[in-house]
């Protein structure tokens, strides 16, 4: 398992915009640099990118959940 952490504190979004599917779902191939979510910090949206390649396992935070910098937000297998 590889963890993907949030680079900043803020509100985490699994989807590019409301109503759309999540960026990744279980079993998806993930390349380094793939966008896996958005962090809203002070009204600015910043893309969270995978720092490793692998297979997507799961998000470990919910959509629109507040997160801390360094908090694990998703796992790759």
């Amino acid at each position: 398992m590889t963890d993907i952490q949030s680079p900043l504190p803020g509100t985490f979004y699994l989807t590019p915009s409301p109503g759309e599917p999540a960026y990744k779902s279980k079993g998806d191939t993930v390349s380094e640099g793939d966008v896996i979510g958005l962090i809203e910090v002070m009204k600015t949206f910043i893309e969270v990118k995978a720092t490793d390649a692998g297979t997507f396992d799961s998000y470990v935070v919910e959509n629109e959940q507040p997160v801390q910098a360094g908090q694990v937000i998703a796992k790759l297998s």
């Binding site: 900043l8 504190p9 803020g10 509100t11 809203e40 910090v41 002070m42 009204k43 600015t44 910043i46 629109e64 507040p66």
Partner: protein
């Protein structure tokens, strides 16, 4: 029925500012806060504080029911919305009135009227205030477009009637370019929207943003002169002055009179701002919108006129008439405000929430620092990046700029990145010193002068 207990439906520096004004009037204060704002300064300063929901503004500071319930529970008789959040939300204002509470600001109908671009433009025209010239309706014939463009003057913006979001906008500098560009815009609009008609609007080149502070009690209205806010990045003001460096006395009077006439015509109640674009090359000004709330940059007006605008709007909301007449309001010297944001100007203005480890600021009679900081406080990531506003006063503009430079050098906010290094570079800039700026100036400056920002 003067207000006895005031609920503050906002956060950050403006909540602190409103509490200070309320206390000066002997009014009890109730501060609402989200779960992320438990430790904010306004919560500590208010007589009472009530948590209204989770960090997300949609569930707390924008939650009509939670705020109105808090007001009822606390026995508040009025709600001050500050700026942003619910300050110009007509539905909220109606709900406040229906709950039998006072909203510190105009009524819902007025907010709706001035919040609608077309209605506001028509209202301004009816009051005899110049608006940005444009075609009255949609155009689809080229010769008609040429005739209209000759009336409003070049350059003109060609905007698809059915469009939105800036798509398909073209700017024509003269008749030849209009004859070339309008058919392109028309063809593009047909294929994108199935409707090829378009509007024309005059383009104010190198516009300066000048706005007039007004206050009304429903019967009469006054102005507190103008502010200039031409230094902007992504339409966010970052440096504001009063008075404007560019207006001559005759134009100033004309501008302020037009704003106060509009304010009186609509029976305005409370603090408001009438915003204009000013065309320096011709001395013409054009109404763009009216903001029906107290604005971030109100302190520069307080600094040059000596009036407490927040206290005045609270008194008026409580039923008092204007406490001041136009003849009493005079300009004394020059004032500048800068917005200190939690952003890194050297990293594309990346937001920088976090813990304030040290805080020291300039203490001098000419300096005011409106903020919500204290050492050990954690700036949450959920709201906007404004940390505070540094305001200085000088006998003239040169003195004010020098005082601002000094005040910025004497202000330390550690633990997070701030825009102070950018503001220092601006205070040292020759074009800023000469007042040779416009609303596009700062973004252009940032592209070419990043090395002047010293971390």
């Amino acid at each position: 029925m003067a207000i006895k207990t005031l609920l503050i439906a906002n956060r950050g520096e403006i909540a602190v500012r409103i509490i200070r004004a309320a206390k000066s009037l002997g009014i009890k204060t109730v501060q609402v806060y989200s779960e992320a704002d438990e430790n904010m300064l306004a919560v500590k300063l208010a007589d009472q504080a009530i948590c209204i929901g989770p960090a997300s503004a949609a569930q707390s500071y924008l939650n009509h029911d939670a705020i109105i319930s808090a007001a009822k529970d606390a026995g508040a008789d009025a709600i001050h919305p500050g700026y942003g959040f619910l300050s110009e939300n007509a539905n909220f204002v109606r709900a406040v009135a229906n709950a039998g509470l006072i909203f510190v600001g105009p009524d819902a109908d007025l907010i709706e009227k001035m919040g609608n671009k077309i209605a506001a433009r028509q209202t301004a025209m009816k009051a005899g205030v110049a608006v940005v010239p444009g075609s009255d309706g949609a155009i689809s014939d080229l010769d008609e477009a040429v005739r209209v463009a000759n009336e409003i003057g070049y350059p003109v913006m060609i905007k698809a009637a059915a469009g939105g979001g800036g798509r398909g906008i073209r700017i024509a500098d003269d008749e030849a370019s209009l004859r070339r560009l309008a058919p392109q815009a028309q063809a593009e609009a047909v294929s994108a929207f199935g409707d090829g008609s378009y509007y024309l609007e005059y383009v104010v080149v190198n516009a300066r943003h000048i706005e007039v502070q007004v206050m009304g009690d429903g019967k009469s209205a006054v102005h507190f002169f103008e502010r200039e806010c031409s230094l902007q990045r992504r339409r966010q003001k970052i440096w504001e002055e009063a008075p404007s460096a560019t207006l001559d006395e005759a134009t100033r009077q004309e501008l302020c009179q037009s704003a106060v006439k509009l304010t009186r015509d609509i029976g305005y109640v409370g603090a408001g701002t009438v915003e204009y674009l000013y065309e320096e090359s011709t001395g013409r000004f054009f109404f763009i919108e009216m903001n029906t709330r107290i604005q971030v940059e109100h302190p520069v007006t307080e600094a040059i006129t000596g009036y407490d605008l927040v206290a005045e709007m609270i008194r008026i909301a409580g039923g008092a008439p204007l406490s001041v007449s136009q003849d009493d309001i005079k300009i004394n010297g020059h004032s500048i405000e800068v917005r200190i944001n939690a952003e890194n100007p050297l990293m594309h203005f990346l937001p920088s929430p976090g813990v304030i480890t040290t805080l020291s600021c300039a203490h001098a009679p000419e300096v005011r620092f409106d903020h919500f900081l204290y050492e050990g406080y954690t700036i949450p990531p959920f709201y906007d990046s404004l940390l505070g506003k540094l305001i200085v006063h000088g006998n003239n503009r040169d003195e004010a700029i020098a005082a601002m430079h000094q005040a910025l050098e004497n202000t330390t906010i550690s633990g997070i990145e701030t825009t102070i290094p950018l503001l220092i570079a601006l205070a040292k800039d020759n074009e800023v010193k000469a007042g040779q700026v416009h609303t596009g100036w700062l973004e252009h400056w940032l592209e070419h002068n990043i090395e002047k920002i010293k971390p």
